[in-house]
């Protein structure tokens, strides 16, 4: 057995994927109402295109992206716009949102299909992706059309699809790879064509051997052998070592291409564009069928959920509805997280919507929950240094931040930290190191 590709350092938390990895994706019930934030992405919020009282159909544009880095939002159900205003957002803030009261009919606005999408130009593809409001589905929700428009001085030679899904508990990408492998490969080819790239990879952690097989099959199958790409092109399914945060862009590129994205730089600085497998599938559906991003797969899981499931969920569905459809809470459920356990956001309310970037709703119980209210001084064991994927000194950074010495923290490459949480995970003193990092970052200019 060859040594699996990976990056230096990192951690291996308990995976707990067995709760949902064998559960096929089921459609969530049509939501009674949806709350669709105008800002679900990195960049400027969308501008509302409807007013209170308007009747809307599924797929209808209700907010259009403004500026270069922005994304449009669409109605995910048919019904009536009953409110436009500030509503709770998974990030913990109040965000301008459009609320649609469903009429239960789920009427759709017809879509413009493009059966001969293979002949589209790069600009036409990007326009379709932009119109569909597609953003990265892995979590950061960066507008996809922007990622596919690198400046000329940054030549791209490689596209990597991210199927690592290194966050514990989450299985949304895993199920998608099993159930829609052809669509993912088609999406990858569209992305490669748009960027004029002939080398594509699909990186998958080795704890998903069935997904690796499914993707390999899809890559080599006749059905997906579109004449889209300039020959010779190659797409390689790349098994990766199971290690967190393998799915972080910089770590993924490092594992597959052995390139290091420079400090404070972007993947395009080393000629790579990374897209989540879910995003690739959404790209395929947008380009081929004209489908806007109005639904996504969400893993509703954790020991605090009675019947964990992978669900196809309309964007804007409130978490309470999904939790109810999964049998509700078990005894001892104490924490609801949007996203995974390492980087997700704890929620203070259940009336908070699923966004384009919400890959999971995780409910932890008293047993899983670890408080960081009480922590000890750093004993300088060095564990965090040994595992930091960015090669930082989190021990020193947390101490400097704790003492208010933020400028000094900057000299220790504070802004390289992408808050993966590995340091806090291994800290024997239970220090909230991620919080210290965020505090320091907010106190100094980058």
């Amino acid at each position: 057995m060859l040594k699996l590709a990976t990056f230096e350092r990192g951690i291996h938390p308990e995976e707990v994927k067995e709760l949902t990895e064998a559960s096929p994706i089921v459609k969530a019930a049509l939501p009674k109402r949806v709350v669709i934030p105008l800002s679900q992405h990195t960049g400027a919020p969308a501008k509302p295109e409807v007013v209170i009282g308007d009747l809307v159909k599924r797929n209808q544009l209700i907010g259009s992206g403004q500026g270069f880095v922005s994304a449009s939002v669409h109605a995910s159900i048919s019904g009536k716009v009953i409110a436009i205003g500030s509503f709770p957002h998974p990030s913990g803030r109040m965000i301008q949102s459009i609320v649609i009261e469903g009429d239960g009919k789920d009427e759709e606005m017809s879509l413009k299909e493009t059966p001969d999408y293979l002949n589209l130009s790069a600009d036409e593809i990007k326009a379709l992706i932009k119109d569909a409001g597609i953003v990265g589905l892995g979590g950061a929700a960066f507008p996809t059309n922007v990622k596919l428009s690198p400046p000329k001085e940054k030549p791209i030679d490689t596209v990597i699809l991210n199927g690592a899904e290194c966050e514990p508990y989450l299985t949304a990408d895993h199920r998608l790879m099993l159930e829609q492998p052809e669509g993912i490969v088609a999406g990858l080819k569209i992305i490669m064509k748009t960027l004029g790239v002939t080398k594509g990879y699909i990186g998958i952690e080795n704890n998903k051997p069935d997904a690796i097989e499914a993707m390999k099959k899809a890559v080599s199958s006749e059905e997906s052998a579109y004449s889209l790409l300039p020959t010779p092109y190659s797409i390689e399914v790349y098994p990766l070592k199971v290690k967190y945060p393998q799915g972080a862009e910089k770590m993924l590129i490092n594992a597959i291409k052995d390139r290091e994205v420079p400090s404070r730089g972007l993947p395009m600085d080393v000629g790579v564009v990374v897209q989540n497998v879910g995003t690739a599938f959404a790209v395929y559906e947008a380009v081929r069928y004209g489908k806007p991003l109005i639904e996504r797969i969400v893993t509703v899981t954790g020991r605090g959920i009675k019947e964990p499931k992978n669900m196809m969920v309309r964007i804007g569905t409130l978490m309470s509805e999904l939790i109810e459809q999964c049998g509700g809470f078990t005894d001892g459920a104490v924490k609801v997280i949007a996203g995974g356990p390492m980087m997700g956001f704890a929620q203070w309310s259940l009336d908070i919507p699923v966004l384009k970037g919400t890959s999971g709703i995780l409910v932890l119980t008293e047993k899983d929950y670890v408080s960081s209210e009480e922590y000890l001084p750093c004993i300088r064991c060095g564990n965090c240094i040994d595992i930091c994927p960015m090669g930082l000194n989190p021990s020193m950074l947390s101490i400097l931040s704790e003492k208010g010495r933020y400028e000094e923290a900057k000299e220790y490459n504070l802004f390289d930290c992408f808050e993966c949480g590995s340091c806090a995970y291994v800290c024997p003193s239970n220090r909230p190191i991620v919080q210290f990092m965020r505090l320091a970052k907010s106190m100094v200019k980058p």
Binding site: E14, P341, S372, P377, M390, L392, V426
Partner: protein, 335 residues
Amino acid sequence: MVEKKEHELIVSVSPHIKGEESVSRIMWSVNLALLPAFLMSLYYFGPRALLVTLLCIGAAVASEYIIQKSLKKDVTVSDGSAFLTGLLLGMNLPPGVPFYIPIVGSVVAIVITKQLFGGLGYNIFNPALIGRAFLLISWPKAMTIWSESTAAFVGLDAKTTATPLGILKEEGLGKLIEMFGDKINLYTQLFVGNRAGSLGETSVIALLLGAAYLLYRGYITWHIPLSFLATVGVLAWIFGGKSGLFTGDPLIHLLSGGLMLGAFFMATDYVTCPTVRKGQIIFGIGCGAITILIRLKGGFPEGVMFAILLMNCFAPMIDRSVKTKQFGAIKETKK
């Protein structure tokens, strides 16, 4: 409806899961790793070893409890760190010390060296070693009366002798070999620990067993012990001989004194050594060099304690000058 009131949800910063490591788990593991060497001290020095060690531990834990109570701090005696300080101090004392010595040493270690500097995590010096240094300077005689290892009851009338390092310093290697019969027997006895010395320092095999456990668990890494031992070995070989350079006997230096105890269990103290691994190698080399300097040229036969304490001073400076290997470091390019 899902019945979960808002006030029932816990909101906190990510990550929401934590590994199983904790300060107390680490500290108790180190205590456990010292068990073999402690048992050997009972075997060689009898019940008195038990008594001295228990006095150290008891005084350390009690003084931590009292000082934390009186400073109105949280009492942390259950984390095992005060216990560890007491245990290490005990292992660093001669078997026949008067009973006030362990108590004074533990109080100095815990109250002055640890708690008055801010408690665990903030102390600059290794508490057990400051405790021992204080005792050695205050009661030089009591702290240098060594009992023979007899594997029998050692009373106040125990036969006293010198440590192998003391003999090496005063009378040379020839005398040492003569005492133990031959060189092989000398090495063997040093390895198993059948010699005069501080309670827990004598048995190399027992200490290595504990060290192997700590290395396996990942609680210590090779960086400090290896660089420390290698430096001692190399410098002893170069400068340790009576008949010129490169004639020294590195094994004698490696197997005797408090080197094994110091290199694996005291120099590796998280709080007082550098955190960056590269810095730890510098630290280890420094410890080794000072140890040999004292052993060969200093007034004391043994230098491990002062070597570690002196290097403790440098740990913060080393940490500031040695950087971790940054991912994506931008190399200075010539323009």
